[in-house]
């Protein structure tokens, strides 16, 4: 065993894999635990070698971007190790995703709940975009929910850096129902605005409780969009008829959003409409969205801990609360400004070799692209 293999074996031993919890396009996800602390984690096992070049690009991308992005609303990558022909990503464990919550018909969503989910989504996305990373696969199923209610953007398998000038990007990204019209028209030069369209569709889905624009094929997707929002004119979206795969799918009149979203407030519809503007340059940015009046209007966004939970989540949470009888800190939480009686360092459970270098901001990364 050489040094690299040894280091890898050591990392692998830190984690225990339990049962399978999910399957995606190129990976199987297992529940697991950290051996030393018992903390629940998820192991995303990516089969490599099934692609010509050996290592699947998706796996590389996912590792690259997750290593660089640290934010409360982005899933945390704890470790990476390889086993046989697999690459294993160790991720924080998350109980459920937004799709399951939307589909659980027994749950009632208050307007304040939707506001809370949207704020968390935009915060995570703003962080990606601020670092010039496009997610390119936003959908309810990739927005995972932690036990404390925090929403985390996951599945960076399709993410990439915003392209350098003159470089084409593939338009075969984003699950169809959440794909913006510029990608459906085959555009190879696009921007962060593609993610905003997806968020707009998710926003609408949270209100409707069913997918907003469920096209049956790529062509039908365009029709579905235009049926809902009207066929764009060249004035509304200059140049779109020149895009590589442009086709005319017919003229549809514009119907006001109000007709479908009968109960939504004016602010709500204003923000929604700005997420699904045809012309990508006019679409609102994640940062501007966070400053939209919708978020400041009453009701306040629901505190994440009180957001609707699926039955599985409630079951997980109703196990005995952590350490009711074992509050190690006699002060009941370390009070700020009281440095005098800090508990000794050795009390912390051993988190063997937690990689501190990961906390250095992306801004320091000179190696990127």
């Amino acid at each position: 065993m050489d040094a690299v293999e040894k280091a890898n074996a050591e990392r692998q031993r830190r984690w225990v894999k339990d049962q399978k919890v999910g399957e995606g396009t190129y990976a199987v996800v297992y529940r697991g635990r950290e051996l030393a602390t018992g903390r629940k984690i998820a192991i995303k096992k990516i089969k490599v070698g099934q692609f010509k070049d050996g290592l699947d690009m998706s796996a590389v991308r996912e590792v690259k971007y997750l290593r660089e992005l640290q934010h409360p609303n982005i899933i945390e990558l704890l470790d990476v190790f390889s086993s046989k022909t697999n690459l294993n990503l160790v991720l924080e464990f998350l109980d459920t995703d937004l799709e399951m919550i939307i589909k659980d018909r027994s749950l009632v969503f208050l307007p304040a709940d939707i506001k809370s989910w949207m704020a968390m989504t935009f915060r995570g996305l703003e962080f990606c975009h601020r670092n010039f990373i496009l997610h390119r696969d936003l959908k309810p199923n990739n927005l995972l929910i932690a036990s404390d209610g925090q929403l985390k953007i996951a599945d960076f398998g399709l993410a990439r850096d915003a392209a350098d000038p003159g470089y084409k990007m593939t338009c075969q990204v984003i699950t169809r129902w959440y794909r913006p019209p510029e990608l459906l028209f085959g555009c190879r030069y696009y921007s962060t605005a593609v993610d905003i369209w997806s968020v707009g569709c998710i926003f609408a889905e949270l209100m409707l409780r069913i997918p907003y624009l469920p096209g049956e094929s790529d062509m039908d997707q365009l029709k579905t969009i235009f049926r809902a929002l009207g066929t764009p004119t060249d004035e509304e979206w200059p140049g779109h008829t020149k895009l590589p795969d442009y086709v005319s799918v017919g003229q549809f009149p514009r119907t006001p959003l109000r007709d479908l979203f009968t109960a939504a407030s004016g602010d709500t519809l204003n923000l929604l409409s700005k997420c699904i503007i045809f012309e990508p340059r006019k679409r609102i940015s994640a940062r501007d969205a966070l400053y939209h009046p919708y978020f400041f209007a009453l009701p306040y966004p629901t505190h994440p801990s009180k957001l609707p939970k699926t039955a599985a989540q409630t079951a997980a949470a109703s196990r005995p609360p952590d350490e009711v009888d074992g509050n190690v800190d006699p002060g009941g939480g370390a009070p700020a400004g009281v440095g005098k009686a800090a508990p000794p360092k050795k009390l912390k459970r051993k988190l063997s070799g937690h990689d501190l270098s990961r906390n250095i901001a992306r801004k320091l990364d000179f190696t990127a692209s």
């Binding site: 629940k40 196990r319 350490e323 509050n327 009941g332 400004g337 051993k350």
Partner: protein, 386 residues
Amino acid sequence: MSTNRTNAASWLRGTTIRKGTTTPATRSHTPQTQTSSSIVFSGGVKDGSGRTSEYFSMDDQCPVCKSDRYLNPKLRLLVSSCYHKMCESCIDRLYTLGPAPCPVCGKTLKKMTFIPQTFEDLVVEKEVAIRRKLAKEFNKRREDFPDLRSYDDYLQEVEDITFNLINEIDIPETQARIAAYRKENAAFIELNQQREEAYVQALKEQEEAERRERQLRAEEIRRAEEEERDAREGERRALIDNLENSDADAARLVAQARAEALKRAAARTAAAHQAVFAQQQETMRLRAAQSAVVVPDQPHVPLLDGYYAYEDLCGLRSSYFDPASDAVRRDKEGIMRAGGYRVEEAWERALRYAVAGLDITPPLGEVSMPLPITSRVDADVAMASV
């Protein structure tokens, strides 16, 4: 000294310490701890889901019988009240017939008092146990003190006591201090324990209420769907009856039935909307009642970090000499514009990568030299090379 030692240990080992609720069912989640012993050892430190996570290492070896994990893959080491480790079969062998001395230090031990090991370091194990025990009574909060100073003194006192117990210093005097505190603060201790219980209770009630609400709603949905199905079936039958018993034009009858069905469906949808609205009201009331005890909602804060609070050290020009972006500028058809691509974004990214971190002191202490960049840099970056 040896009597002090025993005192500390027995005080520490009071019945409350083994409050573990670990049942055999939850134990099965941690396969490597499948016990070979006749009794289930509980206690230890629990994780977020209430499970005990035992310390486990391939290097484990029983100090008494020397068997290790290679000899016995099911080896499980437990910790005695004197903080000495031994394996389950040694415990069975030595203590099944009743109390017997510890093979290491001679202290009299009983089988029931062994607990699982949570931490690699037994000193930490002991410290955690002591702190847990103390925290039950030393449970005052900042609000219980008139000023920060007295709160600080209290924390210091707790630390002193903890330190003494861990290191087995002045045990009788320390015990006396604890007793004095207990007597003086009986009311406070009781109150804070009640507060804690009330909080746990409130959480439990909230979950129960949510569960009930979900159940009710599921039932309602089922009923509504049933009604809808019945109604549709009724309409269909009425139409068939009509067609059989009337001489009127069939096409007209069908159209008429369809129009009526549509009207009824619309009425049902409106009723359903009304029901959803009523439900939201109810949920809102329920949650409002709970939020008093649990967590209040907070006004929106757009961003949680101060990323944009820093002044940029350099600015972006309106244009750069950039052969690579020629393709974009020659975009006569407006294809890139139509797709939302902005060359300015690429420039900004290149510039940020180039200058980011320049004013951060490198992490190596001795060789670091603060860089004298405090004013705006008019960075002129050749984009082609980035």
